[in-house]
Symmetry: C3
């Protein structure tokens, strides 16, 4: 099974470890044996202008997943919304009302589906590829999350080269290693079976450190300074 | 404390990683230091005829646990139903109604208790051994789950020798290693403190692989081909 | 960020692994990189007289945290109550009623806040240090929990020297190692990023063992005998 997925993560943190805004959306192509991405692309946000209260992320993720999917023609697309794997093209208002999710979740999906449902329907008609709301059940979504963390770190290193310092909150239970010209991200959840990702990076001179976020157990903080 | 427990698991999977049916029920004797089984037995189902919607499993598990318990005379029997450790012989209708579980759980137990309550009562009167609905709190239940995965793999290897190929979904966060004439199963949850199991197997020629189930995060897939 | 936190844990267990009472409250000073304590103190309870039904723990923890905080002047105090990080000095009755917690949780806090709210208010007025109900989100609370386990083991070793034997249930998913004159406690949750603690101990002759609690999955048991 060839899966395209996307997720958003990595948060610029202030000095009290509170998030200022999210940094990167990553889309990945995941193939057997489903431990890492065969291909990945990223789109950066401006964390200083990020609307943390909004539902910007899922739309960004859908667009980026479609961009990659048009190129690599996967069997299926997995989005990070945990609705039991339902097809987005089927999410009309009565179907959303019948979902076993919170009222807030329903309100968000009534709004989101206005754009995403016709988009998914058209994409399916043209390509036969389904877009599924599978969320945390999907290994591909988790790999996309790890890549979002890796790309956030890449962004952070460039930011630190210019501004002197950066502090980033990584996605849940993942850590980062930097070797020469690679950024490696690894799941810290032993139950996931060694999921990881890596991207290359131009050689730069900087110090970095990774440590637990004191106010968000199981989340790690990445810091770099030039 | 000497504990007998039983659990069912390991699912034959189709090409889309959807379960066709469950494979094995395992009963185990677990003694100090409670990391593996001292003794285990298994009963196989026909996964092609398995009623995934039913509650077949818990009855099979009770019968298999009793079979082992009659032989090894444990101090207690643990079943995989999370009702706070209540004694099965006490599960009459008013007691079931007073449990803090879902209505669906109550309906299932009203049905199940018709058979299991008198069985547990008789067994307790004859032997003094209690049968407890302790479920996920029990390490013995988890060890039984790991053995159900191991026996499923054993079944799968034999199936692959005849049919050429098998794909099995293992119980939650466990992995398999095969060395010469042993099948080893290990918990992937670091918090559990290194629970494992192993059974012997006749030497056979086959290829095998283990990897994350792409649509069921924290679950692994075992494949073998002859 | 310099954080003082406190937690209570480690339970004396009977022969059926049921808790008799809790053993130790630990307060810790946690600083960057937030993996262990820079300083720790403990207060022991009498587990044979412990009221397991009560809410004794949180008061003990607050008093011990304040004792340490007066000495080390941290930036903030973290208590083990998961109320989203709200300041204890703001917990008046209408605020408690507005919390999104269970009715039982509200009843407990209506009672607790009578003592703790004025105490926190006075401490904040004098020092500017906030006391937050952050609970399981805090790495410092988790480190305090690990230290409570370590001090319980220290108590247990002394108990076993006098009484011959001790069996202790450790706080959730942590394990203990004893080397020469040190007791080392380590988180078993791989997602937490290697949290640990250690205290020194006078050299003593005893045997010890650690193994999974058979009726409390992910909890370990420590035993010592002289
Ligand atoms: Mg997401
Ligand atoms: Mg089961
Ligand atoms: Mg506590």
């Amino acid at each position: 099974m060839r899966i395209v997925s996307a997720d958003t993560g990595g948060a610029l943190l202030d000095e009290n470890y509170n998030p200022i805004g999210l940094i990167a959306t990553a889309a990945v192509l995941v193939e057997r044996p489903y431990k890492t991405a065969k291909l990945s692309i990223a789109k950066y946000s401006d964390p200083f202008k990020y609307d943390l209260s909004g539902r910007m992320a899922l739309k960004d993720e859908t667009f980026l997943a479609l961009k990659l999917a048009k190129k690599v023609k996967p069997d299926v697309i997995h989005l990070d919304s945990t609705l039991g794997g339902i097809e987005i093209r089927k999410l009309d208002d009565p179907t959303i009302d019948a979902l076993r999710i919170s009222d807030r979740g329903k309100a968000i999906w009534h709004e989101l589906s206005k754009d995403l449902q016709p988009l998914a329907k058209r994409f399916w008609e043209e390509t036969g590829i389904e877009i599924l709301a599978i969320g945390k059940e999907s290994v591909a979504v988790r790999i996309a999350e790890i890549y979002a963390g890796i790309y956030s770190v890449k962004w952070g290193i460039e930011y630190a080269m210019k501004e002197g310092f950066v502090r980033i909150g990584l996605p849940r239970y993942m850590t980062i290693e930097i070797n020469k010209e690679k950024i490696l991200g690894k799941s810290l959840d032993s139950r996931e079976g060694d999921l990881y990702g890596e991207i290359s990076m131009e050689g730069k001179e900087f110090e970095w450190e990774i440590y637990p976020n004191p106010i968000a157990r199981t989340f790690m903080v990445f810091e770099a300074k030039s």
